[in-house]
């Protein structure tokens, strides 16, 4: 009976554990009895070991501070990206609040704006937060929204034209949570 030797590619696949399970048994059975294939397989394995050793020798330690440089670069790019994102969010918030005002205002009288004394200058804690938390690492983001929308949201604003716009600052803590809001006009 003529001996059907597996191809060199199949031997390589066997070495790299890339042979499907249903072909593996027959291949191993052949290799156990075929000195020629076993020799070829061992040669492929020896070359692979040599390649692996060569590759391992290419490694050099990272330059001093490479990790720190990467982190700084990430922070720099992230800050630029955040700025852009917040600008987009501020626009989106304005649109959403304006839409809310349009749909909700006719259904009832607008709530009386409370507490004029907190309207400008001071940060007002958001419901789930407190302004007394550490300000370390916090950032302040500027937004601009319609006055009527702010009133509808139950936030304190000064009396003024309902169609006017309110500039505000949102204090965001280092943990990423918005802490407080302050109205600028």
């Amino acid at each position: 009976m003529k001996c059907e030797h597996p191809s060199a590619e199949l031997l390589l696949r066997r070495l790299d554990a890339e042979v499907p399970p249903d072909e593996l048994a027959a291949l191993d059975e052949h290799m156990a009895d075929c000195g020629e294939c076993k020799q070829q397989y061992d040669k492929l394995r020896a070359v692979s070991v040599a390649i692996g050793e060569y590759s391992a020798g290419l490694l050099e330690p990272p330059p001093a501070g490479q990790r720190r440089t990467l982190v700084a670069a990430i922070d720099g790019r992230a800050a630029a990206r955040r700025k852009s994102t917040y600008a987009t969010l501020a626009v989106a918030a304005s649109v959403i609040l304006t839409a809310a005002a349009v749909f909700l205002m006719p259904k009832g009288p607008a709530p009386e704006p409370p507490a004029a004394d907190v309207a400008a200058g001071a940060f007002v804690a958001l419901p789930y937060s407190t302004v007394n938390l550490s300000a370390e690492g916090a950032v302040v983001l500027q937004v601009e929204v319609p006055r009527s929308a702010v009133a509808l949201a139950g936030m304190p604003v000064n009396n003024g034209p309902a169609d006017g716009r309110v500039k505000a600052e949102v204090l965001v803590g280092a943990d990423g949570l918005a802490r407080a809001i302050r109205f600028l006009n």
Partner: protein
């Protein structure tokens, strides 16, 4: 205000509304940065070796490593797929170095250097002086043969050395799995002949 369905106090839930969007954005950015640093620690050695296989100097390889991980951060921040990020990193780094090579900004394709830590591949620890000389000669021939291999064969060998499966190598290089197997077979046969 308590949610009737969940029983949770809505006032304590920071992930709602405008403030929630802000919070989530910042939290995701922080998570992405931490993930990038973790992957950098894990992948940098293999990626550096892969880039050296491409013929880049150590300095050039480190520059590409840095840019690759910055791109990974941008990738994670935009919420794109996180499936097999290791393969993603190698694919991006390979593309970067090929682009730089095309643009001529760097001098790539210099001969592969002999690895500083590579041992004599065929040296038997118990071999005598004559056998050691022969083993060194075999190693020298092997390295010379590697330098003459086509780029695609070197790339496949490098990725195989890093433990990637054929399917992953194909994905990284944009070729089919059967092509990967064929390329690897050719490369190993060439190198094996050098050592016959």
């Amino acid at each position: 205000m308590v949610d009737n369905e969940t029983g949770e106090d809505k006032a304590l839930a920071p992930d709602t509304g405008f403030a929630g969007v802000l919070s989530r954005g910042l939290r995701e950015a922080t998570d992405a940065a931490a993930q990038v640093v973790r992957l950098f620690d894990e992948i940098r050695p293999g990626l550096f070796r892969y880039l050296r296989w491409h013929g880049s100097s150590a300095e050039e390889a480190d520059d590409v490593v840095q840019e690759t991980f910055l791109r990974l951060h941008a990738h994670l921040q935009t919420g794109r797929s996180q499936e097999n990020l290791r393969a993603w990193v190698f694919r991006v780094a390979g593309n970067l170095i090929r682009d730089e090579r095309k643009s001529g900004r760097r001098r790539f394709n210099r001969p592969l250097e002999t690895g500083t830590g590579a041992r004599d591949a065929w040296a038997d620890p118990g071999a005598g002086p004559e056998e050691l000389v022969l083993a060194r000669e075999s190693t020298r021939r092997l390295h010379a043969a590697m330098r003459r291999l086509p780029v695609i064969e070197r790339e496949c060998l490098a990725l195989r050395s890093e433990g990637f499966r054929y399917r992953e190598i194909g994905g990284i290089l944009g070729i089919g799995t059967s092509t990967v197997a064929d390329v690897l077979r050719r490369a190993l046969e060439t190198l094996a002949r050098e050592l016959s």
